[in-house]
Symmetry: C2
Subunit: 112 residues, 2 copies
């Protein structure tokens, strides 16, 4: 009954995160800075967003985690699985779709 679809623009944090991990394995704290960087400060996702997404993606089998001790500190490195790569592709094309839709709407005849 009360079954609600996710808002049409959700999943962008997940998209950015997967995209970063597609480049190379990274750990959570690193992702926070990395995403802020590659988006040119346009998007800044806090740890409160990153960590839960990482955990849920791992539970889902889209990511695999690997603990590494570096300088006496523990880091959890994440990398994509095959499932994760597929998920990234799906999110990419979804984003492409809505991004194009909005662009079309903004360009329409508004420039007159």
């Amino acid at each position: 009954m009360g079954q609600t679809n996710p808002p049409f623009m959700s999943g962008v944090p997940e998209l950015l995160l997967l995209q970063q991990l597609a480049q190379r394995e990274m750990y959570g704290y690193e992702l926070v800075r990395s995403i802020r960087l590659v988006t040119g400060e346009a998007i800044s996702l806090g740890e409160g967003v990153i960590y839960p997404v990482l955990h849920s993606l791992e539970r889902n089998g889209a990511l695999k985690a690997k603990r590494k001790a570096v300088a006496g500190r523990t880091r959890v490195y994440y990398s994509l699985t095959a499932k994760g790569r597929k998920r990234l592709q799906r999110l990419q094309s979804e984003w492409q779709r809505i991004q194009s839709g909005i662009t079309a709407a903004l360009e329409s005849p508004g420039h007159a």
Copy 2:
């Protein structure tokens, strides 16, 4: 205290709506179809989204409403005020900013 910023991608429904009304005055039910059309079906906002946004924008002075009776039925036509046009511009550049940020992240070195 518990002051939370709006989610970074919100306000897109409002943006699309204002953009449509910048072309010509329209009524709510019309906007629902119009937005679905101009976005190439990519985005479909229901009446439950449109009407509340219209009302809040009117309360805010960004829109002005005008009732018209057409074929025995009442329509409420909305058009932009100066404040609404300013708001549209702000939302446009905000969108541009995050859109560019995401594009940059997706293009970054991912093409290797």
